[in-house]
């Protein structure tokens, strides 16, 4: 048994060195060389200030902006405390939240059913996307608040819509941060 203690200790140290240090350092080196933007978190810089990451959702509450999904990460879109609500399918709290949000959205856009992703929190709490159905639902409100024609806003949404990857993978989606930044660029808020 003691004859096995030496390889147990030495191999632990050797493999820690290889898989725990050399491997991640090498990957970091290559990644920083080949894909510096992505390796550093796909950050978006405006006027030499970091305003967010293309991949990480952020909250929008003011008029004239598309709203992201509700978030359970920290106090909402806390990118240092990711997570979901973990409310179960028969949870009274969940159903009450969905009900009150649905009511509020229906008041904004009467007569239309509310897309489910508008009233449910994502798994990460940092979902950068909304569904095209969700964007379409919000289009008339944003157009009204910005004082621009609905079709102009709708065409911006189209520009910010990513289809399925390679036409097959995943689901169509609209990046909220990209869309709102583009809105600000084209049409100043009133």
């Amino acid at each position: 048994m003691f004859s096995q203690l030496r390889p147990a200790i030495i191999l632990t140290l050797a493999l820690t060195l290889i898989t725990g240090l050399i491997y991640p350092l090498a990957i970091t080196g290559i990644a920083q060389l080949l894909f510096p933007g992505r390796a550093n978190g796909s950050l978006i810089v405006r006027n030499s200030k970091v305003v967010g990451s293309e991949l990480i959702g952020q909250n929008f509450t003011r008029p004239g902006y598309f709203r992201p999904r509700p978030s359970a990460a920290g106090a909402g879109y806390d990118a240092a405390a990711s997570g979901g609500s973990n409310l179960g399918p028969t949870s009274r709290v969940l159903i009450a939240r969905i009900d009150s949000l649905t009511r509020a959205y229906r008041a904004e856009n009467p007569g239309r059913p509310v897309p489910i992703d508008m009233v449910t929190t994502s798994a990460s709490g940092l979902d950068p996307d909304i569904t095209p159905a969700n964007a379409e639902f919000q289009t008339s409100r944003v157009a009204r608040e910005r004082g621009v024609p609905e079709d102009a806003v709708r065409s911006l949404v189209r520009e910010c819509t990513d289809g399925r990857q390679f036409h097959v993978l995943g689901e169509p989606r609209v990046n909220v941060l990209r869309l709102n930044m583009m809105l600000d660029d084209r049409y100043a808020r009133h």
């Binding site: 990957i27 990644a31 990451s53 990480i56 399918p89 949870s91 940092l126 689901e171 600000d184």
Partner: protein, 580 residues
């Protein structure tokens, strides 16, 4: 369900199928000690490790020596990880200045990563420094996966060899698996993930002023290098709290597909390795076939279940239908705890795959699944995670089921059961039943029962009603099964859960391995009998059907009462419109 959803599921399975032969044949070469195209580069590294470690790779070991080596290696690694967490505050690569991890949490986490479970009672970005993530957690992601694989190889050698006392050399198998199998695939995979947007840096967390002027702190780190081994080694421990649903861990549908394929790749490949090593590929494909049938049964329940929601939600004026009209597309269904880019199909598929295997990474929150959708992960783990399974552990688990299968077939026809030419006798049966029918259920049901009545246990669940019970059950199913996923509403970072779940993880890993290795040692000594007209053939569809039935009946009978108290009763209550 949509046509595209089904197409994505078939595409995923097709890719796994394509990888079976190349990966399986490569692993057979590596574990037979043959030269591969990687030897010119990695051969010197391998020999250097043997020299400093005092290992003679050609010295064969008895099953007891092999197992003791594995246990000692696990203990050393466990202590190292515990120490790293406790000393984190004074070690480098800690830009956020995170302090020492609390003793009970550090113990739980050390056990969790040593046993290939990766149960996480903590949030990664708020608890672990970059150094601990890399040298502590990612190291275990490699070696606990390698340990699982080499144990499966040892059991396969038990079948392949005859009249021998030894089953290989643990140290040589471990080093070869890490260097030639895991490391090269990870280098490749990690870079593809960075290309898709997974960060790989050592920066401190980014402070952002958002468009609306709010402050946002974005956690960073060497994520990609850890992400790929997390999937490939069926570990599942997320760099961030939200695991593979976090856009930094899993930014695109392609990164998601890579993750899912990586979860099944080596487990699937091992069926081919097994066929190659016992000299009959059809034996390996039969096991692959049975695993595939069980996989499709799981997704066939999970996917349609997730297109539904509670009737009260449907009545509130929400649209849950899948819409394909351009400009207003949506996946619909139960989107609570799911990401828009993955929708329903990829969330249900990921949940099925991650629990078929003992991975435990999640790209959606299982706690918020519908009752039946969430029952699929629970049931998958309860069946022993033998559907492709944890790398290696799925294979040795499934081989024990195969032994049980030939035993039952033998009872029907009144002959001594044989598998792969080996007579299955009293000793093998005792060990098999000990592992499959006694230890796993005792740990799962015993701890769940304890937590369901103990005041500290009852403080855990977030949700009320039957779902709260499901949260407790899932924790011990996941711990014992070394899965690591959770119904994450459970507040598991308490003294009670940290200790009980750590024990469940230790029982599920090591009390399972020792009987499995005893079977390996005992089989290796036996002669191989050539098949006769009376031998039950273990290659055709009849055998596949029998295997599927044995897995379902053993798992089903043992755990049905517990499932009836959790997801099944919740499903019926939901249909009746009840809330808790």
């Amino acid at each position: 369900m949509t046509f595209n959803g089904i197409l994505q599921i078939l595409l995923f399975f097709g890719l796994v199928l394509l990888l079976v032969k190349p990966l399986g044949a490569f692993m057979a070469r590596v574990f037979n000690g043959e030269r591969t195209f990687l030897h010119p580069v990695l051969g010197p590294v391998e020999r250097f490790i043997y020299r400093v470690g005092g290992v003679d790779p050609n010295q064969e070991q008895h099953w007891t020596t092999y197992t003791i080596g594995m246990l000692l290696f696990s203990v050393v690694g466990l202590l190292l990880l515990y120490g790293l967490q406790r000393l984190q505050g004074v070690l480098p690569l800690n830009p956020q200045g995170l302090g020492a991890v609390a003793p009970d949490l550090a113990f739980n986490t050390a056990v969790s990563f040593t046993t290939n479970t990766n149960w996480q009672a903590y949030g990664g970005e708020s608890t672990m420094s970059y150094l601990v993530q890399m040298m502590g957690l990612a190291f275990h992601n490699f070696v606990s996966a390698a340990t699982g694989i080499v144990l499966a190889i040892a059991l396969i050698r038990g079948f392949a060899r005859h009249s021998m006392q030894t089953i290989g050399n643990f140290w040589a198998d471990l080093v070869r698996c890490t260097l030639y199998v895991l490391l090269p695939l990870c280098v490749l995979g990690a870079l593809v993930l960075v290309w898709q947007g997974v960060p790989q840096n050592f920066s401190s967390y980014t402070n952002v002023t958002t468009i609306e002027g709010a402050k946002q702190t974005i956690a960073q780190g060497p994520v990609a290098s850890q992400e790929i081994i997390k999937q490939l080694g069926t570990n599942g421990g997320g760099f961030f709290n939200a695991n593979s649903s976090h856009p930094y861990e899993n930014p695109t549908p392609l990164s998601n597909l890579i993750a899912m394929v990586a979860i099944f790749a080596l487990g699937g490949g091992l069926t081919y390795t097994m066929g190659r090593m016992v000299g009959n590929q059809r034996q390996g494909w039969a096991i692959f076939g049975a695993m595939s049938v069980l996989f499709f049964m799981g997704i066939a329940l999970a996917y349609p279940s997730e297109t539904h929601v509670h009737p009260a939600i449907e009545k509130s004026g929400v649209n849950i239908a899948a819409v394909a009209d351009p400009g207003s597309e949506q996946a619909g269904g139960n989107m609570e705890g799911k990401e828009v880019r993955f929708g329903i199909a990829n969330s249900a598929l990921f949940a099925t795959a991650t629990t078929d295997a003992s991975c435990g990474a999640v790209n959606s929150m299982h706690d918020s699944f519908t009752p039946l959708g969430g029952m699929v992960p629970l049931l998958n783990i309860e069946l022993g995670e033998v559907i492709f399974g944890g790398v290696g552990s799925g294979m040795y688990g499934f081989l024990l089921f195969a032994i049980l299968g030939v035993f039952i077939a033998g009872l029907m026809v009144g002959r001594t059961p044989e598998y792969l030419g080996k007579k299955i006798e009293s000793r093998e049966m005792k060990m098999t039943v000990l592992a499959l029918v006694l230890i796993l259920p005792l740990s799962i049901l015993g701890f769940t029962a304890l937590a369901s009545v103990h005041p500290d246990g009852l403080k855990g669940p977030l949700n009320a009603g039957p779902h709260g019970f499901s949260e407790i059950l899932y924790a011990f199913v996941s711990g014992t099964g070394n899965n690591g996923s959770a119904f994450a509403g459970l507040s598991a970072n308490s003294m009670f859960y940290n200790i009980t779940i750590a024990l469940a993880m230790l029982f599920g890993r090591f009390l399972f391995i020792v009987p499995a290795m005893a079977v390996a040692g005992s089989l290796a000594q036996k002669k191989i009998h050539p098949p006769s007209s009376g031998t039950f053939p273990t290659t055709g569809w009849l055998w596949v059907g029998l295997l599927v039935a044995v897995v379902l009946i053993v798992g089903g009978l043992t755990f049905f009462p517990a499932l009836a108290l959790g997801p099944i009763v919740e499903h019926l209550q939901m249909l009746a419109g009840k809330v808790f």
